[in-house]
Symmetry: C2
Subunit: 361 residues, 2 copies
């Protein structure tokens, strides 16, 4: 059975699908953070491409991992519960892998200020540790790292290319710069092939829905489903660049399969929109809902970045990648998914099996 | 008695000396890495400006700390042996300080590749730790951080300004970016005043002389004193920008005393010269010596940066700072110093007192 992700990829670009399928067919692929938002969506497509998949995840409650995320491919993938901070596990797990999507990490701006050392351990120390494991036990691997627009900090209103100086406004951004830089260094010095995609605000199915500290777009959609009033900080006019998750998955698949990306960094991006406009569009798609403007809490205000627009022309010009899913369609799919499987994300029965398999998601 | 450092500062710019002296007079100043190369030279001048000085140093043998470095001011400064990785010590030590020169760190490119986690602990984790200590126990402090040109990586032949993208070629460079970035972040978010000076190749008295992995210029001078043949890797044509230590000390004193530096980063720089030309000049000043060209060892070749020239106009235009000591004069002073006190740097009697006090250094 074909997931909606794969069906979309097949239909909008069958030649690309065939090329990627033949690249991943039979390959041994590891995904750190594999039970998380992007990792699980990626795993579902990779399973349909007949890759041999190992998902590594710590399942730390506050983070993004959720066993239900891989329900459509349960039994078709290996799952190893361990923390990327655990060096000896990583030494074992990297062995024999052809490809590693290195997605484990925390993305909370506010949390990184409250507990900067944990953020440092996960986003900085662990990345170095994974690369050291590869250097010692699997130097022929290729890695793709998930960077973030948080590395840039406050950028103003102009589109931001990879040449923009980075000055993060939170500890998380600094640690992600280090984590990304280790990948590029190990590429340059040791020939361990690696590149990085810098993600902007990504939303869609399989994102955690328990708190708003990672991924505010999904949080807005939960408020709509719950019938709660959405709270927008400040004026709501702050612009974010947005991507639907299937477009991001496609970008990872493309970046990994292309040798020309080795040692390079690429922005992803899509539709820039103010948070207020996003919410208004979501209310329209949802057929109802309400929002209010509230003052910034002090801790969020200190690290608010203002507007962000991505210039993703470098990746587009190299690979042809561009977002294919409109914001409206992405919002509709996300609302559909969580309406159907809500109980596995913020319901009361997280450990039960679903009413039916979520293959259409 | 006035050190040569201070005498020079007084003579070349008495107005600046008076302004700095009145700024530092009676201030409580902490220097991490205070028994090291730049820290100890800085402490000697600060003592003459009547600052109240606490030097913090781990005295780890392979690093730069040496008790003899502060012989001219022994008894006039407090010394606390502890490691910047020791969070509870730092929590105590930062309290009550007006100013912190944050110079503790390792600078070995090769060592950082062989033992990346130690480099990360010292240059990245510890910096965050010191800033957290300041946030909790002394948020009114100002810090000046010692960054490095190693943060830029390979830059080509054009002068490098602070707007140049950073892509380090070793783990040390990445960790120094993170360490510096935490300072800027805590400045921006918490109002803990901090700035960074990015140092280029600095040489002069009080540098460790036991190995060449930190500070190749001083190492060349030791070879001359020992009558050994200097070994230049590659062609010897690689260009480095150079500063004599007293100019760097002056830059730190100026940066700390100027509110306009808060939240900013500045390159230092001086006379760009090829390593071969530096050695030829040193042979001339020394009145003898020899060198040979040898192939790069593999580990050094991988992380060799090629040419580096600093554009230090940002700091010059703000403060008027520029290097005052010529390369020839710096080489002569350095040779004089180590000829006189050699035994305390690579002699056989490191714990003995000097024949006379090195106040002229």
């Amino acid at each position: 059975m074909t997931s909606r992700l794969s069906a979309h990829l097949i239909s909008h670009n069958p030649a690309l699908w065939n090329r990627l399928r033949s690249f991943y067919d039979g390959r041994s692929v590891m995904i750190t953070g594999g039970l998380g938002f992007i990792g699980s969506n990626l795993a579902i497509v990779l399973a349909e491409m007949n890759a041999r998949i190992m998902l590594v995840d710590s399942l730390i409650p506050e983070y993004g991992g959720n066993r239900f995320n891989i329900e459509p491919i349960a039994g078709k993938v290996e799952v190893n519960i361990s923390d990327v901070r655990d060096r000896s596990s990583m030494n074992m797990l990297v062995q024999g892998r052809d490809l590693i999507f290195n997605l484990a990490g925390t993305l909370s701006h506010v949390d990184s200020m409250k507990d900067p050392f944990t953020d440092l351990e996960i986003n900085c120390v662990s990345q170095l540790s994974i690369l050291e494991s590869c250097r010692k036990y699997n130097p022929a691997v290729k890695l793709v790292f998930a960077g973030t627009r948080g590395q840039y900090g406050r950028t103003g209103s102009d589109p931001v290319s990879e040449k923009h100086l980075m000055r993060p406004v939170d500890v998380n951004g600094i640690n992600n710069i280090a984590g990304e830089s280790y990948h590029l260094l190990y590429n340059d010095v040791y020939g361990i092939k690696a590149c990085s995609l810098r993600l902007t605000n990504t939303f869609g199915p399989r994102h955690q829905m328990n708190h708003h500290r990672q991924g505010v777009l999904n949080w807005f959609l939960r408020q709509l489903i719950d019938g709660d009033k959405i709270r927008l900080y400040g004026t709501g006019d702050q612009v974010r660049d947005t991507n639907y998750v299937s477009d991001v998955v496609e970008a990872f698949l493309i970046a990994m399969a292309d040798d020309r990306t080795d040692g390079e960094v690429y922005n992803l991006g899509g539709e820039p929109i103010s948070l207020r406009q996003f919410v208004e569009m979501a209310v329209e798609v949802n057929g109802g809902g309400d929002y209010e403007i509230v003052p910034f809490p002090a801790d969020a205000k200190q690290i608010e970045i203002g507007d962000y627009r991505a210039d993703y022309s470098k990746f587009n010009e190299l690979t042809g990648w561009k977002p294919e899913v409109s914001l409206k369609e992405g919002i509709a799919r996300t609302l559909d998914y969580y309406r159907e499987y809500r109980e596995y994300y913020w319901g009361s029965r997280p450990s039960e099996r679903p009413r039916r398999m979520p293959v259409g998601a």
